[in-house]
Subunit: 247 residues, 2 copies
DNA sequence: CCTCAAACTGTCATGAGATGACACTTGTCG
DNA sequence: CGACAAGTGTCATCTCATGACAGTTTGAGG
């Protein structure tokens, strides 16, 4: 690798560093591309030669994360059901990131969550990015299920739950009452819910709440029905997931 | 209602009409706000007094749709499990829209789907809009489950599946091989999958595919396990959902 | 009817994001 | 070294978006 390549990489890293420093100091929207570029002493034009947009510099990490999940998902034992494998893949990658792995400054990881939550622009970019990766995820899921994604809707639905799970997890992180301190933990619980089924019984405000009620349609799931997995067992013994369950 | 109110409403309608006409003719990104404004003979500045952004004019319909779903969801019988109620609410609203209800020009409805799929900007805006409505949906779900959304992660996960289901449905619409012709139909199938559980068994490429395999974790779901609902029974008798199932 | 205040609109100015064109500098390789 | 490619800066331009201000329309009330 020649000097040119090295220099490019250094500039890129410097831009990311400067960007995050400014973002966390002033917020995403209040930071201009020119400021980022100036901090690294390049022109704004050059910034856009490294990143397609201002969001893009923040989304770099999401890209890494997503690929990490895809790799981990592919590496799961072949006999794990899809959502189980997906949950474990997501959780392991989150753990890695929060521990500073995959080139993640651990502080910057949580900073990114904060930024995404604060800025609508960044949130939109993040969601769109996830959406653009959908095809990859769908293919990975379909491969594991051994079905054709062009002819089967199921892998599409399963794949889209990854965004859904993350979203719920991030939301949970920002809700003080739920008391999560790590994304891995929140994601574990969120994906466990998806794994065990989400068709929870309705509990009319009157009288006996929460009893399994199959009245409506197919496969209603009780408050803590079907929980036998290692991690979930630990979780469900605690307060968060079933805080209001069968109270 | 005075003349002023009426005039405002007419301008607003005219802007929407002009916008959609231009969008479908030239695409979302290629259409400028100035063009839309000119077509109605107002200044671009005025456009931004009616709509916060260019996306906003298109997202008007999504807003209607979302509120329609929330209303329909609240109106479902109290004994239906949450995902069953959510699926039926979504499907009924989609039907209504595709039939031209709720002030939806039926052609414009499909046009919107097309536009959203083509333009990244619009896609991002659409996703962000859904995300912003999350709190409302979560509250509605929590109310039905009779749990406290601040202390229970489940309603958050359930709520976020609405975006997930729509996304899969829209994707299915744009995949010719799946052969859907109406969003209601696609959404029905997508939400049915969520309703019945998504933790499908992995099917190793070798030998016996698709048999229920509980080996991995909790509650693995067979290819067509737990299907007893009216609509799903119809669907699953066909080709789409289980095209590759137990073949 | 007439007047006044509020609401609505147009014009102007401004700023940020993003992109194309073109010239200049710097690294690479023969 | 010298030719060629890659990377960068400068300049121009477009679009989205917003604030300020002035002119016009409209509704309400004397």
């Amino acid at each position: 690798m020649g000097r040119r390549e090295r220099k490019k990489m250094r500039t890129r890293e410097a831009l990311i560093d400067a960007a995050f420093e400014l973002f966390s100091a002033k917020g995403f929207d209040a930071t201009t591309v020119e400021e980022i570029a100036d901090a690294v002493d390049v022109s704004s034009r050059t910034f856009f030669r490294y990143f397609a947009s201002k969001e893009d510099v923040a989304l770099t990490f999401q890209e890494e994360l997503m690929h990490g999940v895809l790799d981990a998902f592919a590496a799961r034992p072949a006999d794990e059901p899809v959502m189980t494998a997906l949950r474990r893949a997501v959780v392991s990658v989150c753990h890695t990131c929060e521990a500073g792995g995959l080139g993640f400054d651990p502080g910057r990881f949580t900073c990114l969550l904060q930024l995404t939550n604060e800025s609508g622009t960044l949130m939109a970019g993040s969601l769109e990015h996830t959406q653009k990766k959908m095809e990859l995820i769908t293919r990975a899921v379909a491969r594991r299920m051994n079905v054709d994604p062009a002819a089967d809707l199921r892998p599409h639905v399963v794949a889209s739950t990854i965004g859904c799970g993350f979203q719920a997890a991030v939301e949970a992180m920002h809700s003080a009452d739920l008391g999560y301190t790590s994304l891995a933990e929140a994601a574990d619980d969120a994906f466990a819910i998806l794994e065990n089924g989400v068709n929870f019984a309705s509990a009319p405000a009157d009288g006996t709440a929460d009893g399994p009620a199959d009245t409506g349609g197919g496969a209603a799931v009780g408050a803590d029905g079907g929980v036998k997995d290692d991690v979930k067992a630990r979780k469900n013994a605690g307060v968060k997931v079933t805080a209001a369950g069968r109270g």
